[in-house]
């Protein structure tokens, strides 16, 4: 390795470590620091600008933007409030049934939308319902966070780690559904039973307050019936597009963006208003991450790590798979899973090119570990942080340790189930 290459390795490593440390510390806005690190990689000539832009996974970016637009428009119809109120009324105000049904609604929604969006949609309604029932909202939001992370594991579009894995591989919507949905359903059911036991003393409501929930009128929530019909049709077309996208040789981003622009067209929504509500900070965070990790790949660090991992595991698929599953789970519990997965993807790709082995089981290990690991602590996933923030605004402070005592065992249970699943069917 000549001196220039050595310098580039050194610079890339320093910038990467400092940037990731800053992201994990949460003392600086993560988008700003990710972009800063990315720009430094270009300025210090670790990689040229054209190459930096070339490593951005625009499939991930396009999929995120497309789905965000669809959800922003869909939210205006009031359909999510309708579903939540209808669910609460079906439960007849019974808190355990609300807990169960809201968890199911959250898990299913999270399989189709990303976790943060799902929480942002379900949490406000949950807070109004628990206010009405005079219940502590914490068990309900806790169950919704857990359900969102589990539900998001089941599909390509349910969680950013899966979106990133899908973008980097040939794995499509149906691949994720067939391989991950079954274990996600099993984990969800078992987790629900455990949570019911955990919160069994929390669900005491007076009959008077139950009746107040029955007084809610879900029909009032539908603000725009025409838009609802248009959105429903387009969402249906989009989901169908995801199911068929591999068969028709279209990338998932194309499907999502098609759905988004089709909905913008038919709904005549003001594009400025809609585009303003896109989480651009999340999008640019991804852009920064892709460049940072691309720089590590450029200087050969990822390839070196991949070689070391193959040496460590002697190329044994089972050991490698378990190592990735458990390491991803524990890492994702304590640090943001998105930068973690962004780093792991080229590592696994390098392992494939070095060893020639079929690394598909490793993708499932990574997806399961990174998605489910996010349940482990309050900082494990963005959805957790957002829900904790909502509770704090209402004067309910959830400490790191209190949350850890409840959530970490649940996460371990889910990873044990995933371990058994992977060993039975893949390794």
């Amino acid at each position: 390795m000549d001196k220039l290459q050595q310098n580039n390795v050194f610079i890339a490593l320093i910038v990467f470590i400092l940037t990731y440390t800053a992201i994990i510390s949460e003392k600086i806005n993560r988008t700003v620091i990710a972009l800063f690190g990315a720009v430094l990689m270009i300025i210090f000539q670790v990689m040229p600008q054209t190459h930096a832009f070339g490593v951005i996974d625009f499939n991930t970016i396009g999929l995120l933007i497309g789905m965000m637009i669809i959800v922003i428009i869909l939210r205006k119809t009031g359909i999510f409030q309708y579903i939540a109120i209808r669910t609460a009324k079906i439960s007849k105000g019974d808190p355990w049934k609300i807990f169960l049904l809201f968890s199911i609604v959250t898990a299913i929604s999270s399989a189709l939308l990303d976790n943060v969006t799902t929480i942002l949609l379900i949490a406000p309604v949950t807070l109004v319902i628990t206010d009405t029932l005079k219940l502590n909202p914490f068990p309900f939001l806790f169950a919704e966070i857990i359900s969102a992370n589990i539900g998001g594991t089941a599909t390509l579009i349910g969680d950013p780690p899966n979106i990133m894995i899908g973008g980097a591989t040939n794995l499509g919507f149906m691949d994720f559904l067939i391989n991950l949905a079954p274990v996600a359903i099993v984990i969800f059911v078992i987790t629900l039973f455990i949570m019911k036991f955990m919160f069994r003393k929390e669900f005491k409501v007076t009959e008077e307050n139950k009746k107040k929930v029955l007084d809610f009128d879900e029909h009032k929530t539908i603000q725009d019936k025409k838009l609802l019909i248009q959105s429903g049709i387009v969402l249906g077309i989009t989901i169908l597009g995801f199911i068929l996208h591999q068969a028709v040789h279209l990338e998932s981003a194309t499907v999502a963006l098609f759905g988004a622009v089709l909905l913008l067209l038919v709904s005549k929504a003001d594009p400025d208003e809609i585009l303003m509500e896109i989480e651009w900070s999340t999008i640019f965070f991804f852009v920064g991450l892709f460049i940072l990790v691309g720089a590590l790949e450029e200087v050969g660090i990822i390839k070196t790590l991949a070689e070391k991992l193959i040496d460590l595991t002697k190329g044994n698929m089972m050991i490698t798979s378990m190592l990735i599953l458990w390491f991803s789970a524990v890492a994702s519990a304590f640090v943001d899973n998105i930068p973690f997965v962004a780093t792991m993807i080229p590592l696994i790709q390098n392992m494939q090119s070095i060893s020639g082995m079929d690394v598909t089981p490793l993708w499932w290990s990574l997806a399961l570990g990174a998605c489910l690991g996010g349940n482990g602590t309050i900082v494990g996933a963005s959805a957790n942080v957002i829900a904790a923030g909502m509770l704090e605004k209402r004067g309910i402070k959830i400490g790191f340790v209190k949350y850890l005592k409840l959530a970490f065992p649940l996460m371990i249970v889910s990873i044990v189930i995933s371990t058994i699943y992977l060993m039975l069917f893949y390794v």
């Binding site: 942002l120 949609l121 949490a123 807070l127 603000q223 923030g389 909502m390 605004k393």
Partner: protein, 159 residues
């Protein structure tokens, strides 16, 4: 932004259940602060794409001015308002003006409480109306005898 969306969703849900039609509009809220002769004069206005511009003075006393169709009108209104206040602070009555206005606003709020919380007999309402007429007549009488000091525009409510 996430927090705002969550709060807005909760409020919207509660208001819709009360029978309201709720429209959330993305807009810019602007706070304008002046200090004129030691008196804070502050405004808030809202700009949005629905061609609704709401301007309200919040200090030295709250006063809803009105809604406007053109954003340029907001600056003109504030400009005239500030010139009037600059004129006013030269007067010996400025403190009395602020105090009396605050009293009027307090009276409106007390009257509102009276009507909303109590069953007020019609003759008592009549008494209150007659007192208001007296004050109106006093204002008109004072206008006839006082000398005018501001000519940049005509008064909107005192013809």
């Amino acid at each position: 932004m996430n927090y705002l969306n969550v709060e807005a969703s909760q409020q919207e849900m509660k208001l819709i259940q009360m029978g309201a039609k709720v429209e959330q509009i993305n807009s810019k809220m602007c706070y304008i602060k002046f200090v004129i002769g030691g008196i804070p004069v502050e405004y808030v206005y809202n700009l949005n794409k629905k061609n609704q511009y709401f301007l309200e003075r919040i200090k030295p006393y709250p006063l809803a001015i009105r809604s406007y169709e053109k954003v340029e009108d907001i600056v003109n209104v504030i400009e005239v308002d500030i010139r009037q206040f600059k004129n006013l602070v030269k007067s010996k009555n400025v403190r009395s003006f602020v105090d009396i206005t605050k009293e009027f606003i307090g009276i409106i709020k007390r009257f509102e409480d009276l009507m909303l919380y109590y069953n007020v007999p019609a003759d008592e309402v009549g008494v209150i109306m007659s007192k208001i007429s007296e004050i109106n007549q006093e204002i008109t009488k004072t206008k006839e005898t006082a000398s005018r000091v501001f000519f940049d525009k005509e008064p909107e409510n005192l013809k």
